[in-house]
Symmetry: C2
Subunit: 393 residues, 2 copies
Amino acid sequence: MQSKSFIPPVRTLMGPGPSDVHPRILGAMARPTIGHLDPQFVAMMDDMKHLLQYAFQTSNQLTIPVSAPGSAGMETCFVNLVERGEKVVVCQNGVFGARMKENVERIGAEAVMVEDAWGAPVDPDKLETALKNHPDAKVVAFVHAETSTGVQSDAATLCKIARAHDCLSIVDTVTSLGGTPVQVDEWGIDAVYSGTQKCLSCTPGLSPVSFSERAVDKIKNRQSKVQSWFMDLNLVMGYWGEGAKRAYHHTAPINALYGLHEALVVLQEEGLENAWARHRRNHNVLRAGIEAMGLELIVQAEYRLPQLNAVSVPAGVDEAQVRKRLLQDYQLEIGAGLGALAGKIWRIGQMGYASNSKNILYCLGALDAVLSSMNAPINSGAAVKAALEQLNS
Amino acid sequence: MQSKSFIPPVRTLMGPGPSDVHPRILGAMARPTIGHLDPQFVAMMDDMKHLLQYAFQTSNQLTIPVSAPGSAGMETCFVNLVERGEKVVVCQNGVFGARMKENVERIGAEAVMVEDAWGAPVDPDKLETALKNHPDAKVVAFVHAETSTGVQSDAATLCKIARAHDCLSIVDTVTSLGGTPVQVDEWGIDAVYSGTQKCLSCTPGLSPVSFSERAVDKIKNRQSKVQSWFMDLNLVMGYWGEGAKRAYHHTAPINALYGLHEALVVLQEEGLENAWARHRRNHNVLRAGIEAMGLELIVQAEYRLPQLNAVSVPAGVDEAQVRKRLLQDYQLEIGAGLGALAGKIWRIGQMGYASNSKNILYCLGALDAVLSSMNAPINSGAAVKAALEQLNS
């Protein structure tokens, strides 16, 4: 059977990621491929490192993109910083804390769990208590921006507590980087990973990471080899290191890196602070519309991520049917709830390039139309009006 | 400091990969991103599996692309099929056998090495002897097409020996897939991995893999969890499995997968047998030119990979300077030797879309010009003529 070229539909991506990709980035993906040791490519890699340092607000030398998606970025942090038999305190308040636990256990290390409700931030007091009870813990790991719930935790405070107990910190900023402040140096983060398909407006597939000097010291002085050859930063550093001489480790995903470089240039042109302000402003516009419709955001205002809105599904509404109708009739993707929140919430993303007033008004209008047609208990017609008022306020 | 968009030069890529990317594939990379659970994307994934089954000549259900480069495809095979304490026979005749050994040891398993000279194929008799001496071995691993030397080993015979000793086989076809025959079912391969940036004419970043039923049985009945969460096929199968329902594991690299899909459609349109014949034919054209110039191919004719030519550097010639001149003056990339062959050979690839007469004549002409200008001992002017004669024969 003869296959044909795949021509994807043009969607509006307002789920938990991937989000709408900036056209400049799509264009960059199609530029001619060159070799991974080509001097011009090596120069681009150096520029990429500087751009990532800016995005992460760090001067860490070891600031690079891992050649695989965010989950591999997470695993890169754990397998390099944790050794068999060590104890790691993992704070869980959503899906991705559970994944961290899996990472720790598959190293043969012990995960001490600090649990908070899904939809609530990580409680610093619980972390403090856990570290007092486990003075032999070496690492603290938590998610800055929980993609499964839209909650932001206080990374600065959590990292401070970790350091006071002589622990390294591993922080998940997959959904926060580029959308809300991530201050790696100021907050004292030791290892951080992110994704490209959220607030960086890029295609999925790479994971920016950054490591403090303390973290690099630990990596260079491990008792055992890193269990993953592909993710071993001692080897990866030979390719991404300083100077013109680069040792072949793996073949870098050239065109994906073109895309990420372009995404970071776009971010630099806008300016980080402006990007953060735009996400905040557009969140308020969407929120005004959602609330006017009579729907609720499940996360308390002070912990909400502006780029990811967890919206409660009205009573009696089949949430999957709503998403299906939005996709079929409006080419609009929003996200479902995960885990404990499956069936109970939608996740409406406003990430990176997708965070703009055109998307918001379209999303509110489409959601209103679909819910009204299903006789859901909403204030039909109020959402777009309220959003426009907020937009012009 | 403000960065600018990176506009790469247009190179001719005749190294060991990445090789020239087909323009249709670059175009596919820039198509609009859609969600990784979008029904249209899921349908594309199903089509991709069929196309990969064709490329690998297999009916294996578990035939998918790993969301990371070939090195991660290698590691996916090892961490899923090998458990701590098991014994693996690794055949080494170049760089990539050493990487296999690293993979085995980082699992906490034991690698029994079968060594052959760099530039020679794996000796089946040595494998047979090793398996007799190690009846408790569970897995045999070898490289079908050694990218470091341009040598092809007899995968059918090696897999037969492995199976006779009740071992699973892991086979590296990074450089062979799409360029020379890879017959997964006929040869009885249990686990195979490849890359996209060689004879598939695609950008680097993904690794097609395929697993036999025997391999899947082992994966499903492991004593311990796979040490990598990201590479755990028990989880990955939930996303790439049959049917419309897909469980989120990681966010797939959407646009990179568009590229690979297009590459496989291009391959299907040409037909595997035609692609193999083209690589063979063009190899003979390049070979005629290289030999007429007075240079030598270091691999014996019967073991040569048509898509990767290991050419000996003439006495007294600074090989790095030649590559530098080719890149600067001709925008042409050829590869250096690796490991034991560093400084002694060039690796001239003719992979996928890059395997065409225009590239060959350009490469021979440029190499002749650069070597002549350095007063190297070659028959200047003979190469292009001999190649044209072979082309028209």
